[in-house]
């Protein structure tokens, strides 16, 4: 079964550094998402992306965050200047979308980001 893959599985960075989290969504999917989950808390929506542009974003997704689909397969989340509170699991998800606005999300296994 096709799956969403995320790299790296764990990233440690120092406060103020830039990080790029990478995702390869399922190949025929059209909608892409980033979520984060702070340890012990709920899964929080960050951003959705369709047709090469952001379609929705949350209050968490401020100017420090950006997303990009640099080629036909990767979908990246960049945090420009990391803060301690950015430490969390970051999940990428994708869904089919075409002809089915209710297609379910398929998640990767996440990148654990630790900011020291």
């Amino acid at each position: 079964e096709p799956e969403v893959t995320q790299t790296p599985s764990h990233q440690v960075t120092q406060m103020g550094q830039e990080v790029i989290l990478r995702c390869v969504p399922i190949s025929n999917h059209l909608y892409f998402y980033w979520y984060r989950q702070i340890l012990g808390q709920k899964v929080e929506f960050l951003v959705s992306f369709y047709n090469n542009e952001i379609s929705e974003k949350s209050e968490i997704f401020d100017d420090q965050f950006s997303v990009e689909r640099p080629d036909g397969s990767n979908f990246t989340l960049k945090i420009r200047s990391t803060k301690l509170e950015d430490s969390a699991m970051y999940f990428c998800a994708s869904r089919e979308g075409q002809g089915n606005n209710n297609s379910p999300l398929h998640f990767g296994n996440g990148t654990r980001l630790t900011v020291t």
């Binding site: 709920k42 899964v43 959705s48 999940f91 209710n102 379910p104 996440g110």
Partner: protein
């Protein structure tokens, strides 16, 4: 945004059937009800989706009454490995929001 309400936690025993109910009073005509399961340190995993009446797959059943303002996820004969957090969502728009989910704990 589509708001859902679920019990925060539930306990059950191995071999039992578990039913988790979700309220979604402001469900829209085009909304489908989707359930996800999440194990610790993993991404949520799609379990089942339905629009009305009953849907069954190899993992679970989903019961949706005629007014669609609630739904019940049914897990038959649970095992210890079904211990997880279960989320009920509406796949509305592109801002798909997870609530706190139901933390299901299966006891031996």
């Amino acid at each position: 945004l589509a708001k859902t309400t679920q019990p925060i936690s539930m306990d059950s025993y191995e071999g039992q059937e578990v039913n988790i109910t979700c309220s979604h009073n402001n469900i829209a005509t085009n909304d489908y009800i989707t359930w996800y399961q999440q194990f610790p340190s993993q991404g949520p995993r799609f379990i089942i989706q339905g629009y009305k009446t009953k849907v069954t797959n190899e993992v679970a059943s989903l019961f949706i009454p005629a007014d669609r303002k609630s739904s019940t996820l049914s897990l038959p004969r649970v095992s210890l490995s079904d211990t997880a957090v279960y989320y009920c969502l509406m796949n509305r728009d592109d801002k798909i929001i997870f609530g706190k989910g139901t933390r299901l704990h299966i006891l031996p």
